[in-house]
Symmetry: C2
């Protein structure tokens, strides 16, 4: 089975032009087929502020009304996605920018408004992902680059969490490839002490994750990221890595098994 | 030779949800392979105004500074393109939204700043268009939907006139297909009297075009559109139609031969 690398890059890195360039150069140097999923929450919040759209969050997740949906489609699928594609083309990586609506790649179901109405937010079932199109692109040497926008197959796009988008795509592709999932962000890994950027936990298993959660070492926004990661491992993904974007391609960071 | 239909839809139609829905339903009913190119200038100007970005035009063409480039990428490649894709998926047309950077489909050259500096504006050479990827998508039953954004192969996206984008793609594809190009907009065709919306000129040849220009019947913004159309005919496109978006699929409007 061929190895596929699925990489998610967070908005804090994308927002810094130099950091993004360093990351993209490392991304291009990864051997074999690969898929990139990018966030962009920081830039969406900046643009929301310029447009006078209030940013509403619940437990770290954006509440998406119609104005916000327009905003995130502009920022994620437009400016960020196309900027990344132009940069990748320059450094020799033939790539296509996609939302989940394109080619019906990633359909989603609008989340129930109970208990919290997140608005135009979509949840993805990995079994519904159109892997055929992605396999065909990879076979042509083309790298798919996804923003975290999906669609409901009923005429509307939906906002989707980028970590979940990445784990769902990795799970779906794991039927065809030995799939590794890498979450790249602005920290060196999962930290045992949030105040010490060097306190990277090198390996976390499902058992140690429960212990770390219980001891509140892992908390807040890291919990949904870790849950996504272990869900991926339980559903076919071989390994998950959490690391700093500039460390892509070396073996620092946290490994989840 | 199979027939390919290349259709350009203008921003004045896209801006009206009902008109867009009528158009898209007619678009889906066109037999055989097809490619859609959309504008969006009206919505870009609205968003520019909300963001306090000044819209500068020269002879009806937008001057694109870096802020405006970001704006048009957001509006064209983000909101408009993904909204159209979601709507097409709903009505059974599997489609992929593309900019010219995606898959290096439509590279362009930044226009010389002399005599007028249009900023980040790209001119397309039809010979450079990556038809292989488009042919492969059409072969899989997928309809490419382009916004008028290209790239310079040096890391930057570029703003491109949507009429020119459409004629360039039609010319490039005419080597593989019997290609028809249809410009859909908010008028019933080329008018002999701009004050009479029913005064459609049914047929314009190169000779009659020169006479109509000389008599100032065709003038202003219609001239670049007509020049694009005749350039397409001179370079392999079989026929060009100019018509109202709601008349797609019937034989009203102006035919250029």
């Amino acid at each position: 089975m061929k190895t596929l690398t699925v990489i998610k890059i967070g908005g804090n890195i994308i927002d810094q032009a130099d950091d993004l360039d360093i990351f993209l150069n490392k991304f291009v140097n990864i051997d074999g087929p690969k898929i990139l999923i990018h966030g962009g929450g920081v830039m969406a919040s900046e643009m929301a502020s310029k447009l006078g759209i209030e940013t509403l969050m619940h437990n770290g997740r954006r509440i998406t009304d119609l104005e916000t949906l327009k905003l995130v489609s502009m920022v994620y699928a437009g400016w960020i996605n196309k900027s990344i594609i132009a940069k990748l083309q320059k450094i020799g990586c033939n790539s296509i920018g996609l939302s989940g609506a394109d080619g019906d790649c990633v359909p989603a179901v609008k989340r129930s408004p109970v208990p919290v109405d997140f608005g135009y937010v979509g949840d993805v079932d990995p079994d519904q992902i159109n892997t055929g199109l992605l396999i065909s692109m990879l076979g042509r040497g083309i790298t798919p680059v996804f923003c975290a926008i999906t669609h409901d197959r009923n005429g509307s796009i939906l906002n989707t969490n980028a970590d979940t988008m990445a784990s769902s795509i990795a799970i779906a592709m794991s039927k065809e490839y030995h799939t590794e999932l890498i979450y790249c962000f602005e920290k060196k890994g999962v930290l045992s002490n949030p105040d010490d950027p060097e306190s990277v936990i090198p390996l976390i298993t499902k058992d140690s994750y429960e212990a770390l959660k219980g001891a509140k070492v892992i908390r807040d926004g890291m919990i949904p990221k870790m849950d996504n990661a272990f869900y991926a491992i339980d559903n076919g993904v071989s390994e998950v890595f959490i690391k700093h974007a500039s460390n892509l391609g070396n073996d620092t960071g946290t490994v989840l098994k």
